[in-house]
């Protein structure tokens, strides 16, 4: 590209501060969709417990016509953990989404679960951190909270821990092993058989629950689970809330 200088800046080393490569990305959106995920009594499958319809919501900057309530609630609030995320490295998108033009690098590295920021439900919050409260406070007027329904619930085995560390799929849908359309509020015992050690993703495709924009697709909210074989049998040892940035 042919290009010539066109701007004479004010100069000074202080001009560097805040102007070069600073990360101002918004935090992950807050949501209340899936209440709990546990192993079945015999440890062979997963039990998914969505929140009751009246308690189900997501926050978004989408302009929609619903009876939205403005501003954040505390449900997915960072619990004040200032643990550094430096131990978490973003991984490539490789997971199960392949096309290389538009799928980019996200993910978690090895370890870091114990020091990751937490949601109110005690899950590690992917992309969360102490910056989230400040961001939500500063953008209070842009964020609305919408009641949502779950259009589809999906469950999939991502792979072994080695695969997850190297090929974490990042937020969003993946190839589901099992799907449940328009699930009720009742607990779902999935038909995933022979639960194996490794990583699973439970995803909920949420849609606006009411108003003129009822049915508008708001994408997927996911929970990533690590299942490990322990002396007491299989256990879910890590739970990550994986949401797109608001």
């Amino acid at each position: 590209m042919l290009r010539t200088s066109s701007i004479v800046a004010t100069g000074g080393l202080t001009a560097i501060a805040g102007c070069i490569g600073s990360n101002n990305e918004p935090p992950p959106r807050k949501s209340n969709v899936i209440d709990n995920i546990e192993l079945s009594a015999d440890g062979t499958t997963l039990r998914i417990d969505p929140f009751a319809e009246s308690n189900r919501w997501v926050q978004s900057r989408r302009d929609l016509e619903v009876n939205a309530s403005a501003g954040p609630t505390n449900q997915t609030r960072d619990n004040g953990s200032t643990a550094s995320l430096s131990a978490l490295s973003k991984l490539s998108p490789v997971g199960t989404a392949r096309a290389a033009k538009g799928r980019g690098a996200t993910g978690r590295g090895s370890g870091g679960y114990s020091s990751a920021p937490r949601t109110a439900n005690g899950r590690a919050w992917f992309w969360g951190g102490s910056y989230t409260n400040g961001w939500y406070d500063d953008h209070d007027d842009e964020v609305s909270q919408y009641p949502v329904d779950i259009a589809t619930l999906g469950v999939a085995y991502i792979g072994s821990n080695a695969r997850f560390e190297e090929q974490d799929p990042g937020p969003g849908p993946i190839n589901w092993d099992d799907t449940y359309d328009s699930p009720t509020d009742a607990e779902i015992e999935t038909s995933v058989q022979e639960l194996q050690p490794g990583w699973y993703r439970v995803g909920a495709n949420i849609v606006v629950a009411e108003g003129p924009d009822e049915g508008t697709d708001l994408g997927w909210e996911c929970i990533d689970l690590r299942v490990e074989q322990t002396v007491d049998g299989k256990e879910i040892t890590e739970r990550w809330k994986v949401s797109p940035r608001i």
Partner: protein, 582 residues
């Protein structure tokens, strides 16, 4: 002689500034930011250098020689340092700001050294004043310029025909600024387009060395080629410095002669690192197999291999061949077909497969989309800026397997021009507009993601026309996606249909989610994807495509659309794996 040297060294210094501005733009993106910061830093460093020169011994004119040698050394080394900073696996504890500051240090050092030059030259010119007489033609030219400028300035300023305090300063400064202008012209019209960025810095360093040698030849006590009796200015310098200068001159001369090989080597080193950085560490290695630069972009073909411990899900086989335009990925063997199925075959289920359907293809200089369109028998107008790339890809062994000489298609008309120019100059309407463009990885392409661009596209659509493009995932590139949707909506595209391409890159028999595509309509929902009308690919995925429907284009609060004169830089994506910092 001193005035001539002033012109040469100013040429080099100003051109260094442009080289570093462009390098930092390539590294970190944001043309306005990088050029602005670099120029500001450079100018302030000039001031620091000019201030520091007060500590120099004004009797030691060898300081000028040393300055030129140091500049010739620091400028290329600083350039390589910045390249290294962006490729090295630095400790993650280092804050990103520290790396950014380190990347600007070469600009400061070059600026400070350049700041020494003018005061040193002024001092020497003053010393020499009156003792030398310029050639006759110079005197005559000088008189003409002086008379003309005197008359002009007398109109609005107080002037004096007699010699004034400004005499010495004004001539040296004039040559200095003239050198700056030459530096800009030489860089813009000669160095960058013909040699590229990397060889340019070595050529400029060579010029610095030659200026130093010229200075030695004219003024050195020991190595000057003119009689000392003819000189007011004399200096002595250590032999080692001269040897160093000559060595650097020889090295840079060699690099300049072999500039293509040097460019390929360093570009390959940088690009391989950049590609590998888009994956977790030590999972993918890249090897450049071919590269060239056109007037508009750099084209790189490479092989990527899987080095991870887990089973490779990126592609089947040992390696995957890919093509990049600048740093944006254009295609890989593992998904070339599925991408074009999504871009062409899926929307073509909505239109008649005949020459009655008019398609505008924007980009697609690899001719592959044209090949897919040929299979549908439609009329195609293709607009691509890079004619050289299109010419080269016609006979590319890698791409021939995909385009099947589609450039020979009878119903294909190619326009080698900017798409803005084309859209402003045509009144044709199209049923289908396909955008096969590079990704939004730099602000060079922001105008293709703007309200103005999409507004022009909307004006060129027929009544049931749509625009189709691949898009960045909203899950991974949230800020880009939101700014993009707001932009498209602002341009009048109220409705969109979003779908995926599907493929099985690792050949395990399981279809995976591939590229994301968006179809936009300014006139409300159009017809939907109709698999029975489609190719084998579409029919094989009919269940998935039948479920896709139109919805309103999302709109997001607090996010500005992107406009040509009011850009939203959130549209620019960064694909390198980075470490989250608190």
């Amino acid at each position: 002689m001193l005035h001539g040297i002033a012109c040469i060294v100013a040429l080099c210094s100003f051109a260094y500034e442009l080289v570093y501005s462009e390098l930092l733009t390539v590294m970190y993106g944001g043309t306005v930011t990088q050029y602005g910061l670099t120029i500001g830093l450079f100018f302030s460093s000039l001031g620091v250098g000019s201030f520091l020169v007060r500590h120099f011994d004004d009797a030691q004119h060898s300081n000028f020689f040393r300055t030129e040698v140091y500049l010739a050394l620091v400028a290329p080394v600083g350039f390589l340092f910045i390249l290294w900073l962006n490729t090295a696996a630095l400790p993650q504890v280092l804050p990103n700001g520290m790396v950014q500051i380190a990347a600007r240090l070469p600009v400061v050092v070059v600026g400070v050294l350049s700041g020494f030059e003018l005061p040193l030259l002024l001092s020497m010119v003053q010393t020499e004043a009156g003792s030398t007489s310029p050639p006759g033609w110079v005197k005559r030219l000088g008189r003409v310029v002086e008379n003309g400028s005197y008359r002009l300035l007398s109109v609005v300023f107080h002037t004096d025909r007699e010699s004034t305090e400004y005499d010495t300063y004004s001539t040296v400064l004039a040559m200095d600024y003239l050198g700056g202008l030459f530096g800009a012209l030489v860089y813009v019209f000669v160095l960058y387009p013909r040699l590229g960025l990397i060889p340019s810095v070595f050529v400029l360093a060579l010029l610095n060395c030659l200026a130093a040698i010229l200075f030695v030849a004219r003024f050195s006590d020991r190595w000057g080629i003119t009689s000392t009796g003819d000189r007011v200015i004399n200096f002595r310098e250590h032999r080692a410095m001269l040897v160093a200068c000559l060595l650097l001159t020889a090295v840079y001369a060699g690099v300049s002669v072999q500039h293509q090989a040097v460019d390929d080597e360093l570009t390959g080193y940088y690009m391989e690192s950049l590609i590998e950085d888009e994956h977790p560490q030590d999972t993918v290695s890249a090897s450049i197999t071919d590269q060239y630069t056109t007037r508009n972009q750099q084209v790189i073909r490479y092989e990527r291999s899987w080095d991870g411990e887990s089973e490779n899900q990126l592609f089947a086989g040992e390696s995957d061949t890919c093509l990049r335009l600048d740093s944006a990925i254009q295609l890989c063997d593992s998904w070339a077909d599925s991408y074009h199925h999504g871009l062409v075959d899926v929307p073509m289920t909505m239109y008649e497969n005949s020459t009655e359907t008019d398609v505008l293809l924007v980009g697609g200089g690899d001719w592959i989309a044209a090949n897919y369109l040929r299979d549908h028998g439609v009329s195609v107008d293709q607009v691509d800026l890079d004619g050289e790339f299109m010419e080269r890809t016609k006979h590319s062994e890698f791409l021939e397997q995909y385009h099947n000489d589609a450039y020979e298609y009878d119903h294909l008309t190619v326009y080698q021009q900017d798409i803005y120019t084309y859209l402003q100059g045509t009144d044709r309407e199209y049923d289908l507009v396909l955008l096969d463009l590079p990704g939004a990885k730099s602000d060079d392409l922001l105008h293709l993601y703007s309200v103005e661009f999409y507004s022009m596209l909307a004006d060129r659509l027929s009544d049931d026309g749509v625009v189709v493009t691949w898009g960045y995932s909203g899950y991974t590139y949230g800020p880009h996606n939101k700014a993009y949707m707001n932009t498209v909506r602002e341009a009048g595209f109220d409705h969109r249909m979003a779908y995926y391409a599907y493929n099985d890159p690792d050949a395990d028999g399981t279809d995976q989610l591939g590229e994301r595509f968006f179809m936009f309509s300014p006139d409300g929902p159009q017809s939907t994807i109709t698999p029975p009308n489609g190719t084998d690919y579409v029919r094989n995925h009919s269940e998935k495509y039948r479920a896709v429907d139109w919805s309103e284009t999302p709109q997001y609060a607090g996010i500005e659309p992107n406009s040509v004169f009011d850009p939203n830089y959130e549209l620019i994506v960064e694909t390198r794996v980075k470490t989250e910092k608190q």
